[in-house]
Amino acid sequence: MRKYVPKDSVQKKAYYTDRFHVVPSTPREKVDSDPVYAEQLEALAAKVEVKSSRIELNCMVVEINHEDNFKALEVLKEECGYAVLTEMSAVDYLAKDGNFEVFYQMLNLKEVKRMRLVMRIEQGLAVESAVPLYKSANFAEREMFDMFGIVANNHPFMKRILMPDDWEGNPLLKTYPLHGDEFASWYEVDKIFGKDAREAIGPENRDEAKVERYDSKRFSRVGYEVPFGADVNAENETETAIEYSKTFLVDYNKGDTKQLKERK
């Protein structure tokens, strides 16, 4: 039987985990412990429903419903002084509970505070674009769309940004393999030579560490040297004696060495 490979996450996993290993958690505090954050959270909670909140490693993390994202960002910008949207993207939790986690990393320059607005969103649903409030969301949302396939509604130019426009699949999903999928291996062949040439060229090798034993054009093996481009396979490969260059070899048996009596 073939080895079972989980389909929901093809990322690398630890090959060994100690049964008794208890994963610790980063220190988390309540938002009340910081008066500035507490005030901001109060202002936010007055307008939108706050599902959970904490302070984790100098950063307030507030979880809201995904429908409220624009309203929450508006409150944060207008009332709480978060003038900069530093970063926004998503985390793929599809394998665990069928959701994405979208986060907005914000910065308040005046009070030097950072906070992260977090929300869960199901696959296939769209978020409301933050571009009317923060122009930095323009590129960030396009990148999120490109990498995860999460659409931002009312975005001025919702288009792929890093990958080609005609690409299939979203590279940062956990189901997407590191070296690309079937589509990726044919993409350039189809694009440059056309689909008719698939048979003649073959799929692209996207694993740059791959070594093909019988490819005599790109690889050679010590002890099994053959001419460039020779047709080799398991049947006809023969061992060749390793020939060393005589130039650098010193024959110590010839007797023309002499031992010094004292240091020069």
Binding site: T26, A83, V91, V112, K135
Partner: protein, 409 residues
């Protein structure tokens, strides 16, 4: 509209039957002033830009995807390839986020060395900026002078870690090496030399240069509101009159102990930003000068003592069995940080560089997002370029100081 067929192919840079008579021009991705792989699609009315569309992704290597498939220590050399002009600042930003996640303290000597390397990298990056920016605008001699000094700075990096471009000079938990014996003396020589050159060559060549000023003044004007809205950071933000330097405001490493100024310009244009870069180099020299005597007062320990996460020093590994066992586990399986998420901002030469790391307690990061300043600075181009003449396009690309390793990741 064009109707392409086999006899009349589609011309992508020509719109034949448009009332407004604009022309679409592809700028890049292979263009000497594109600073890497920037493709700009410009719609031109005569020589004026009507619409600009920055098209990126020509250097996309999926570094965030790679981070999910590598252990934390394995990933560190990959961060060199983000902003390849100042690799140590990437290594540092990544190492710092992991250290905050682990909650470990770095020994003081490592902190001194790290801060010195960070400032040296800032100088290297700023020299590169001055050189290429001046070359784009047309001052070729400036390029040669600034690259001469940059070579000396890279020699110092080479003396420290053996690499000139992809340093990997910072490790999670400290630094791998102590500085060589004559390094500080060479550093002092470099600093005094650069100080002299800054004043007598660079400033003398550019600061009051009539052509330089005409090309840069009132070009690429970015209002403070726009700078905030577009998520600008670093010299782009301070060039718009907002004094926010992460080294000062959210201090890390030894910066709270050091005495330095944050230059700010309220000119909002390319010339103001150029002056900022020059002033920042002077401040970096000042910081390095303060760090040099600090080095002698520190204990020789270089890596943090956290056996659960970080391998013991080489001597211990070679002499003590338990240290060897732990080293073996850490190398073959990788460290397992606590469950949680962290975002740590640092002031890289280009702006705010931060790593958001989501850990599920596995040896592989569940998600790593690299907040690269250049990515957001590229976004401004679609607004900043509208209405300018095509000759100024190159100036504006230069003044944003974008590096494509970081934009595309």
């Amino acid at each position: 509209m064009q109707q392409p067929n086999k006899l009349s192919p589609f011309f992508e840079n020509l719109n034949f039957e448009r009332d407004d008579n604009t022309m679409v021009v592809n700028f890049g991705p292979q263009h000497p002033s594109a600073h890497g792989q920037l493709r700009l699609v410009l719609e031109l009315d005569g020589e004026q830009v009507v619409k600009a569309y920055p098209d990126i992704g020509y250097l996309h290597r999926g570094i965030e995807k790679m981070a999910e498939n590598m252990t934390y220590n394995e990933f560190l050399p990959t961060t060199d390839r983000l902003d390849y002009i100042a690799s140590t600042s990437n290594n540092y930003a990544y190492a710092l986020s992991v250290e905050r996640l682990l909650g470990i303290e770095v020994p003081r000597r490592a902190q001194v060395i790290r801060t010195m390397l960070l400032e040296l990298n800032r100088i290297i990056s700023h020299l590169f900026f001055i050189a290429t920016h001046a070359l784009d605008v047309g001052a070729m001699s400036m390029f040669l002078y600034a690259f001469r000094e940059r070579e000396f700075a890279m020699d110092l990096m080479e003396d420290y870690c053996g690499a000139r471009l992809t340093h990997s000079a910072v490790r999670i938990g400290g630094v791998p090496l102590d500085i060589p014996s004559d390094w500080l003396a060479n550093m002092e020589k470099f600093c005094s030399n650069l100080e002299h050159e800054l004043e007598h060559t660079y400033n003398a060549l550019l600061q009051e240069n009539r052509i330089w000023k005409m090309r840069l003044e009132n070009v690429g004007v970015l209002s403070p509101e726009d700078a905030l809205s577009w998520g600008c950071s670093g010299p782009m933000l301070r060039g718009s009159g907002i004094a926010y330097d992460i080294r000062k405001e959210e201090p890390y490493e030894l910066y709270p102990e050091l005495d330095f100024d944050v230059p700010v310009s309220d000119l909002n244009d390319s010339y103001g930003r150029y002056r900022l870069y020059m002033a920042e180099m002077t401040q970096s020299i000042r910081i390095i000068r303060q760090l040099m005597p600090m080095y002698g007062e520190t204990e020789p320990q270089l890596m943090a003592h956290a056996p659960q996460y970080i391998s013991a020093p080489k001597e211990e590994i070679m002499t003590q069995n338990y240290a060897l066992m732990q080293h073996f586990v850490l190398v073959t399986q990788g460290m397992r940080p606590p469950k949680g998420e962290v975002y740590v901002p640092t002031e890289s030469p280009k702006g705010e560089l931060g790593f958001y790391i989501k850990s599920e307690g596995e040896p592989y990061a569940y998600r790593l997002k690299c907040r690269a300043p250049s990515f957001f600075h590229t976004g401004i181009l679609q607004e900043l370029l509208v209405g300018v003449y095509i000759a100024d396009v190159v100036t504006i690309i230069g003044t944003t100081n974008i590096v494509f390793g970081e934009v595309d990741r």
